[in-house]
Amino acid sequence: MYPDNYYYTKDHEWIRIEGNKATVGITDFAQKQMGDVVYVELPEIGTKLKFHQSFGVIESVKAVSDIYAPVSGEVMEVNEDLNDAPEILNEDPHKKGWVIKLNIEDKSELEELMSLSDYEKFLEGLED
C-alpha cells in the first residue's frame, strides 16, 4: 500500500523524487487519523519553503492540521483539484491526492527522510 520509492516524514508526509523535482502529499495513516477532509489551503506558486516549514493546512470535519515541507524548495505546482474535491486526500492519498510539487533546493536534506521500511517501523511504534 505504501509506495516503496517514496520517502516519508515523522509528520506523515510522503515525497516522491524525480531528478530535482519533488511531489509531496500525506500518507494513508495521516488521512485515516484525520477523518473526512473537507478543506485544503494550498500555498501560492513561487513560495519558497524551508525544510519543515508549514506550507498549508488540511482541515477535516473535526480538526485543522498543518502540512510541513519535507525538503526546502520552491513551489512549482499545487493540486487545484483539492479545492473542489478535498476528499481526494482520503480516497487516494498517495497518487491523486498529491498536494504540491517543489523544485528541490538542497538534495542533501533527503538524508533526513525515512525510507518505506523506516516509516513502517515508525508506524508500528506509534501503535504501542
Partner: protein, 364 residues
C-alpha cells in the same frame, strides 16, 4: 481517574468505532466517517449511544414547584406523555445547562442533562432545596440512552416496540418495551430530523442497540458517533453548552425567548431577564455563512469594521449544505440578516454574512 464506559462500549468497538475521551467517557467519535454518518441521518437513519448523558431525579410533593423555581419554561406542561426543553438558570438569567424535563409518575421528575455537566448540575439542583419538600438523586449511572434519528427512524423502531409511535407528536413520551426491554421513549432528538430517544435502566441495553441495527440494515441504518452528532445539531441550530450557551450568556441573548415564561411565577433569573427584556438586548446569537474560502471554528475572532467584537461559538463545514456555517454573538445593531462582517482564520480575514437560522430544517 479511570475512564468511564457506557454499557454499549463493546458494541462500538465491534463496529470499529474510533474511541476518544469525551469528558471522562470513552465514546465513539466516528465509525465509518463523519460525513457518511451525517448524511445517513439526513437521508435514512442513524443510531447514537447517548448513555453518557445525565439523569437527575426529583421526587416529592413539591417536585413541580421546585422545578418551576429552577427553570424558566413552564414545567406545568410536563406530564407522563409530554417532555419539555428547558434550562437551569442562574440569578443573572444565564445558563447552568440546557435540558429535557420528563415526568415518570406523579411527583417523580427526571431531568436529562449534558454529560459534561452532570456533577455540576446535580450540585446545583441539590443546593436550592431548602423550604421545598423534595428529594434529589443522581441516577445517571443507572440509565442508558439510545437515539435513533432520521426519516426512516419510525419505520425501523416500530416493529421492535409496543409503544404507539405514530400517535406520538414531537416531544411526546410513552412507556413500554423496545426489543422486549422496558423503556421510556420520547419523540425527541439532537439532529433536526424525526427520531426517538430510548431510555432504559436495563443492564443489557445492547439488546436494543443490536436489534435496531439489525432491523434497520435493509434501510441503511448507520451507527453515528459524536463527530456527526455535532455537525448535525449545528446545522439544525441546536445549542451546545460550553460553546453557544454558558453562564455568561442569558437565555434571551441566546435567542431562546420562547423558553422564558415570565407569567408562570418566580424562577431563578426572572428579574434579570425581565430587566434585560425591558432595556433591550445588547447582543444576540446569530447564524452566519462564510462568503470566502475557509472553515470558521470555535473561538476564531469575529471582526466588525476591523475591530474584534466576539468569537465564534460553534462553526464547521456543513456536510449536508456543503458550506461553512457557524454561530456567534454579535452586537445587536449588527444582527440583521445580510449584515457583513469578518472572521479571522489564521492570518486572513474572511468575509462572512449573517444568515437566518436554522441552517437546515427538515421538510417532512
Amino acid at each position: 481517574m479511570k475512564i468511564k464506559k457506557t454499557r454499549l462500549n463493546s458494541c462500538h468497538k465491534n463496529l470499529n468505532g474510533k474511541m476518544v475521551d469525551f469528558f471522562g467517557w470513552e465514546m465513539p467519535i466516528e465509525y465509518s466517517g463523519i460525513v457518511n454518518e451525517h448524511l445517513a441521518v439526513r437521508q435514512k437513519a442513524g443510531l447514537f449511544d447517548v448513555s453518557h448523558m445525565g439523569e437527575i431525579q426529583i421526587t416529592g410533593s413539591q417536585a413541580l414547584d421546585y422545578i418551576q423555581y429552577l427553570t424558566p419554561n413552564n414545567a406545568a406542561h410536563v406530564n407522563t406523555e409530554r417532555t419539555q426543553y428547558s434550562a437551569l438558570t442562574t440569578p443573572e438569567g444565564t445558563f447552568i445547562d440546557d435540558l429535557l424535563i420528563y415526568l415518570l409518575e406523579e411527583n417523580k421528575y427526571l431531568l436529562v442533562v449534558n454529560a459534561a455537566n452532570v456533577d455540576k448540575d446535580f450540585k446545583w439542583v441539590s443546593s436550592y432545596t431548602k423550604g421545598f419538600d423534595v428529594d434529589v438523586k443522581n441516577l445517571s449511572d443507572k440509565y442508558s440512552q439510545i437515539a435513533i434519528q432520521g426519516p426512516k427512524a419510525l419505520e425501523i423502531l416500530k416493529p421492535l416496540t409496543d409503544v404507539g409511535l405514530e400517535e406520538m407528536k414531537v416531544f411526546r413520551v410513552a412507556f413500554g418495551t423496545v426489543a422486549g426491554i422496558e423503556a421510556m421513549v420520547s419523540r425527541t432528538g439532537y439532529t433536526g430530523e424525526d427520531g426517538f430517544e430510548v431510555y432504559t435502566q436495563s443492564n443489557n441495553p445492547g439488546k436494543i442497540w443490536d436489534a435496531l441495527l439489525e432491523q434497520g440494515k435493509k434501510t441503511g441504518i448507520q451507527p453515528v458517533g459524536l463527530g456527526a452528532r455535532d455537525t448535525l445539531r449545528l446545522e439544525a441550530c441546536l445549542m451546545l453548552y460550553g460553546n453557544d450557551i454558558d453562564n455568561t450568556t442569558t437565555v434571551l441573548e441566546a435567542g431562546l425567548r420562547w423558553l422564558v415564561k415570565f407569567k408562570k411565577g418566580d424562577f431563578l433569573g426572572r428579574e434579570a431577564l425581565l430587566t434585560q427584556k425591558k432595556e433591550g438586548l445588547k447582543r444576540r446569537l446569530v447564524g452566519f455563512e462564510l462568503q470566502g474560502r475557509g472553515i470558521a471554528r470555535s473561538h476564531y475572532p469575529v471582526y466588525i469594521k476591523g475591530e474584534k467584537v466576539s468569537e465564534v461559538t460553534s462553526g464547521t463545514f456543513s456536510p449536508y449544505l456543503k458550506k461553512s456555517i457557524g454561530l456567534a454573538y454579535l452586537p445587536i445593531e449588527h444582527t440583521e440578516k445580510g449584515t457583513e462582517f469578518e472572521i479571522g482564520i489564521r492570518d486572513k480575514r474572511v468575509k462572512t454574512q449573517v444568515v437566518p437560522i436554522p441552517f437546515y430544517k427538515r421538510n417532512y
